[in-house]
Amino acid sequence: MQKSVIEVSGLYKDYQTAAGPFPVLKDVNLRIENGDYVAIMGPSGSGKSTFMNILGCLDKPSKGQYVLDGHPVANMEQNAIAQVRNRTIGFVFQGFNLLARSSLLDNVALPLVYAGVDKTERHARAKLLLEKVGLAKYLNSRPNQISGGQQQRVAIARALVNKPSLILADEPTGNLDSVTSEEIMTLFSELNQEGITIVLVTHETDIAEHASRQVRFLDGRIVQDTRTREIGTTETFGTPTNNIISEAI
């Protein structure tokens, strides 16, 4: 029995509207084991983005329990939640969300600034990760000087830099063409192969198929939960070949 990274039970979320509280999530229960690769799917308005925000500690549930990596985070105060985001979660966004004015190296090193890591180590770790995602040549470039796929690689390097227990990816291929999307998904598969837990939000079925487990939301509830592969196996690699993370860390 593997330790679970995410344990959500009896989770509700209401939004306050002029017409009174509007329920977005209704009694959601989900458990994600360490090393799993989960795709969260569903049409717009199904509540999957709200669920993602709660998983990422960007939003608080109205009711229910959320235990992340052993910490009950539902009722934590702001600063502690910021630390959880910093140490436990790595975010990958649809729009990459890099800081336009900073170099790629500084972008990747940014989470370490908030973790209080000193400058030499920050740069060393950021450099190593940029090399591992294949961008060693661009350490001092700006995000607008590289392609979208490359920017997403930088974002993934940034998500990994503080050794998180969990990568949360929100439509990571939404802004990319199909070839680049495949490259990014391969990178995710490699990371999962090395034991990193990944939760992916997408509405594209073929993207979701890269994951080992598909969870489907509809009208604020989980309506389908399918496991297509065992934890720790992917469609591409039978065994780990390219130890990106263990080497980098």
């Binding site: 925000n53 990422g56 960007l58 939003d59 702001q78 600063n79 910021a82 630390q83 985001r85 910093n86 140490r87 975010f91 966004f93 969300n97 890099l98 800081l99 004015r101 900073s102 940014l110 989470p111 600034v113 908030y114 973790a115 209080g116 400058k119 940034r158 503080n162």
Partner: protein, 407 residues
């Protein structure tokens, strides 16, 4: 962490140079105005204070003639109503430490081929004590010179320069004043200008009796134009003033209610009010200048608010990857402080430079005190904190989800 944030603040400022410059300009103008105004104000104050101490302290001057009266009268000081006996009587008053009767006029002086027109003061040796006026060379005349009305003189620095030049030692030389030969006994220390710009060194001092009998003639024997009186201290001045009035009224047989034939003026009070005026002026200048500091601060706040709105998405990203509220607060606060401190340093440089320029161009005295610079710096930094805090707090309170969605 702190240095990393300082670097970020520097980066952010560099990202929009023109805007940073314009924001800073408000600070630069405010600080340079404060520094410049304080330098000029303090300089003026110091100049006034020096004039006051040059004049002598706790002084009254008793002038002959009516200060105001009906009918046609000659100017105050011209009526021959005061005399040496009045001066002697005054010296017996309580609280009086020095009395010097003075008569004066203008005269042409000649030495060799040079001539010059200057003020001649006829007085007693105590005049130098009362005015706090020392000799830089030679010695003063004595009471025996007064008794025998000898032709001796003390000359001011301006006279020495204009009549003798640099190469001749004036001591012992004979000059002619109104055709009479006078032997120079001493040279007076430089006293500089009075408040109204008159050169106090353009003066010759001779014994009172010599001036009365041999230079300016006399309407009445023994009469003087004015009597300088020094009180013991600031506190005894009102008592001395009262004593002077009653003594002279009595001596001159002036009845209660009728016009006096003399007037008593408190020189120190006039000088002090001049000092008070310059101090008020410099405070006023400083106050006006600090208004521009305030305006500069509001400019910083304005730009920081714009900056927070523009960078909402960036704030969202930082929060998502683990920035605490206080990290965001600190980042924006630092930016405001860096802008105001850099602006302040430039402002101090310009203010000091401007003050030096004013000094070179107008010859006005300036004082750049460490205090005024430190105050300007402190105020500017506090303005950065004060006006930077609200925008920084606004940034820190942003909801990360909304901030991330912000386009």
């Amino acid at each position: 962490m702190f240095t990393a944030m300082l670097g970020e603040a520097w980066h952010a400022m560099g990202a929009n140079r023109l805007r940073t410059f314009l924001t800073m300009l408000g600070m630069v103008i405010g600080v340079s105005a404060v520094v410049l105004m304080m330098a000029i104000g303090q300089g003026a104050e110091a100049a006034v204070k020096r004039s006051i101490s040059a004049m002598g302290s706790n002084l009254f001057v008793v002038l002959s003639g009516p200060p105001s009266a009906g009918g046609a009268r000659s100017a105050t000081g011209n009526a021959p109503s005061l005399n040496v006996k009045d001066a002697n009587a005054i010296s017996d008053l309580d609280g009086v430490v020095g009395v010097a009767p003075v008569t004066m006029g203008k005269a042409q002086i000649v030495f060799g081929s040079n001539n010059w027109n200057t003020d001649i003061i006829g007085t007693t040796p105590s005049y130098l004590d009362i005015r706090g006026w020392n000799l830089s060379d030679g010695y003063a005349f004595s009471e025996s010179d007064i008794r025998s009305a000898t032709r001796v003189a003390l000359v001011g620095k301006t006279i020495v320069q204009n009549i003798f030049g640099d190469n001749i030692d004036p001591i012992g030389k004979t000059i002619r004043i109104k055709q009479s030969p006078f032997v120079i006994l001493g040279v007076l220390d430089s006293k500089g200008q009075t408040l109204d710009g008159r050169d106090q060194d353009d003066t010759i001092i001779v014994p009172l009796t010599t001036a009365q009998r041999k230079l300016f003639g006399n309407q009445l024997p023994g009469s003087v134009r004015q009597i300088m009186v020094q009180a013991e201290s600031d506190n005894t001045m009102p008592m001395v003033e009262q004593g002077l009035n009653s003594l002279l009224n009595q001596r001159h047989n002036i009845r209660e209610g009728s016009d006096s034939d003399f007037s008593v003026r408190n020189l120190t009070a006039i000088a002090n009010s001049a000092a008070e005026t310059t101090r008020t002026m410099s405070l006023l200048l400083g106050a006006i200048a600090s208004v521009s500091l305030l305006v500069g601060g509001i400019g910083i706040m304005n730009i920081m608010l714009v900056s927070v709105t523009e960078r909402t998405r960036e704030i969202g990203i930082r929060m998502a990857i683990g920035a605490r509220q206080r990290d965001i607060l600190l980042q924006f606060l630092l930016e405001a402080i860096v802008i105001s401190i850099v602006g302040c340093l430039i402002g101090i440089a310009i203010g000091v430079g401007g003050a030096i320029m004013v000094n070179i161009i107008t010859k006005a005295e300036i004082i750049i005190s460490v205090n005024s610079v430190a105050i300007a710096f402190g105020v500017a930094a506090s303005i950065g904190v004060f006006f930077g805090f609200y925008p920084a707090r606004k940034a820190a309170m942003l909801n990360p989800i909304e901030a991330l969605r912000y386009q």
